[in-house]
């Protein structure tokens, strides 16, 4: 009975600084930095360490492996002459102790010197600078497609768990991550260009169209800025097939991952609580379920970017897309070590930076990191 309950003397846990919580506070030595600042500083530290580690890896691979750089530079005939070899070694600093060589290498890197291509004799960094925007354009196209499609398919699959839709999406995504991207590229190019003629041919633009004035190096963006709509449409048309092909693998990856994180979230009480408030399905799905699943998904987008970079190296050649990938492909097939190492270094650093940004987004999105 209501009447039987005794008169409250102020509810204990509600009284603002309750005695128990006050004591608990005394037991905590507060962190010296704001958690978000600490989080960012740690991420920066880790990224710098990793980038340093990447330089060590590329240096060691260039210097410790059986392939003799001197022989590669000199060619067979000159390499047979010990005197020329010795001279070259000295010129390249190869007679120095390894640690000295590393610091020379590092200081060269810091001055933007990634070495010179054995084949073309052009500085590696310069060439990378020229082809980099093409890959960025392709990468952005592919990541946009794969994030949108992957997340939606994953969400759909999870919300329709164990239905025919779910099974179909799961099977397709498994097939998607099973196909070699460079093969899909070949087949897609053959079908859509060679047979059906629904997409434009290789390259970033039709050969008779001049590239837009260079600002960002991304043809679509530059064309828009300079108001050349015809060039823009053409560049966009050329972008469609390569980015879709490149996105295929990451779509599979993201679909599978977002499905499992959504299934994870659905089990939480707060989803039931949202339903118990009579909110429309749309709100429950997008405000509650999707937002919860987003945090783990964000981190995977960083990983997905890595597979995009790998995919680019293997597919750009097929589309004659003059980017980092095609540059790397040429370097690999001619065993041009400075080129390969340069590309490896640059991609490693880009990948680390992307993951750093992804971590920051994560930190800002999740209030448990952001708010003390």
């Amino acid at each position: 009975m209501a009447g039987a309950s005794t008169v409250p003397q102020g509810t204990r846990d509600a009284a603002p600084p309750g005695p128990v919580e006050n004591d608990a506070a005394q037991r905590i030595e507060p962190p010296k930095l704001h958690p978000l600042l600490r989080f960012i500083l740690i991420r920066i530290g880790i990224s710098i360490l990793l980038i340093w580690g990447v330089t060590v890896v590329t240096f060691l691979l260039t210097n410790l492996v059986p392939t003799d750089p001197v022989a590669a530079i000199l060619g067979d005939r000159a390499a047979a002459d010990p005197e020329i070899v010795a001279q070259t070694r000295e010129k390249l600093g190869l007679d120095q102790p390894l640690i000295v060589q590393y610091f020379t290498y590092l200081s060269n890197l810091l001055h933007g010197d990634l070495g010179v291509s054995n084949q073309t004799r052009t500085p590696v960094l310069e060439s990378i600078g020229q082809v980099f925007p093409a890959s960025i354009e392709l990468g952005i196209g592919a990541i946009l497609i794969s994030v949108v499609v992957g997340l939606l398919l994953g969400l759909l699959s999870a919300l329709r768990q164990n239905t025919i839709v779910d099974h179909a999406i799961r099977t397709l995504s498994l097939i998607g991550i099973s196909a070699p991207t460079f093969w899909i590229a070949t087949v897609a190019y053959f079908v859509f260009f060679f047979k059906l003629r629904v997409v434009p041919g290789a390259g970033r633009l039709d050969p008779w169209i001049t590239p837009p004035p260079k600002a960002t190096g991304l043809y679509t963006v530059d064309a828009l800025f300079s108001g050349q709509m015809a060039t823009f449409t053409n560049a966009l048309g050329h972008l469609v097939l390569p980015s879709c092909v490149l996105a295929l693998f990451t779509i599979g990856l993201l679909t599978r991952f977002s499905r499992s994180s959504v299934l994870d979230i659905i089990r939480f009480d707060y989803v039931t609580a949202a339903k118990a408030k009579g909110l429309p399905t749309r709100t429950v799905v997008f405000k509650y379920i999707f937002r919860g699943a987003l945090v783990p998904i964000i981190t995977v987008v960083g990983l997905a970017f890595g597979s995009l970079l790998s995919g680019a190296v293997l597919t750009e050649t097929v589309f004659a897309w003059n980017g980092l990938g095609q540059y790397a492909y040429r370097g690999a097939t001619t065993l041009d070590l400075p080129v390969i190492m340069g590309v490896g270094l640059v991609i490693g650093i880009v990948y680390i930076l992307v993951n750093f940004i992804v971590d920051l987004i994560y930190g800002f999105v999740d209030p448990r990191v952001r708010v003390r």
């Binding site: 846990d13 609580a273 408030k277 708010v371």
Partner: protein, 263 residues
């Protein structure tokens, strides 16, 4: 007249090829201004009874029988129609307050989104009402609380916020599923007192699901004892606790520590 009248309610859940009968011929009433406590061991179907009223039975569930809510039949009601009752007339509070709130949304957002949806109330007005309601459920500094995130509150405070969210649309029925189980004993008393006050002041029909006879003895007006999906005993609080009729109820009460001393 009863606010909710459950009559011959059956619930079976089919997963794959197996069908489990969760509720068998369950009947009892909820009355406005009274707390009906449902007791039972885990797996007795007490939680599923509450979820059935809310229309939130698990996937693969089949309901039969009747749940009459103020003249409206809830069993077999179309989902959309049920959705218009949820949060407005039927509301619910969960066991673990830490997991019943979305960690990435502010408290103010979460306790007003159904108010804004159902009553089309503008955000500003809704938040003002939220401050009001949080004060009523004795959450400290309500005007600051609405801008905070769930992890910034203790379990007891979050449960008070959950009660605020449950009553903000002036519901007629409140289902409290083990609302104090996750809390410390000193915090529990405050939450029970809040539940009693809300029930009396707002004339709520409360369904209190718990396995704790101490809780039932403190706040329940009527006690329903369930075992394996069957109601084995229904009666007023004092009778069920001091003179249980059914053997199962007796064994439950006798298994409590120090029960002899209490009598």
């Amino acid at each position: 007249m009863s606010m909710i009248s459950i009559n011959g309610l059956n619930l079976s859940v089919t997963t794959g090829k197996t069908t489990a009968h969760i509720l068998k011929d369950v009947s009892f009433d909820l009355e406005a201004g009274r707390i009906t406590g449902v007791a039972g061991a885990s797996g007795s179907g007490k939680t599923q009874t509450g979820l059935a009223i809310m229309g939130l039975s698990p996937a693969g569930a089949e309901l039969s029988g009747s749940i009459d809510f103020d003249g409206v039949e809830l069993v077999g009601m179309p989902a959309k129609q049920h959705n218009r009752l949820r949060g407005v007339q039927l509301s619910m509070v969960f066991q673990d307050p830490a997991s019943a709130f979305h960690p990435m949304l502010t408290v103010g957002d979460q306790i007003t989104d159904h108010l804004r949806h159902h009553q089309k109330m503008p955000k500003k007005k809704a938040l003002a009402k939220a401050v009001d309601i949080l004060g009523r459920t004795k959450v400290p500094h309500p005007d600051e609380a609405i801008h905070k995130y769930p992890h910034q509150f203790s379990g007891g405070q979050l449960q008070r916020i959950a009660f605020a969210s449950a009553i903000i649309c002036d519901p007629k029925v409140l289902i409290a599923d083990e609302p104090t189980t996750a809390l410390d004993v000193t915090v529990q008393a405050g939450i029970l007192r809040l539940l009693r006050e809300l029930c009396d002041d707002l004339d709520l029909a409360v369904l209190l699901v718990t396995h704790d006879f101490g809780v039932l003895s403190s706040v329940a007006d009527t006690i329903v004892v369930m075992q394996n999906g069957v109601v084995v005993e229904t009666g007023d609080r004092e009778t069920v606790i001091t003179a249980p009729e059914h053997e199962y109820t007796r064994s439950l009460i006798e298994s409590l520590p120090g029960a002899e001393v209490a009598r």
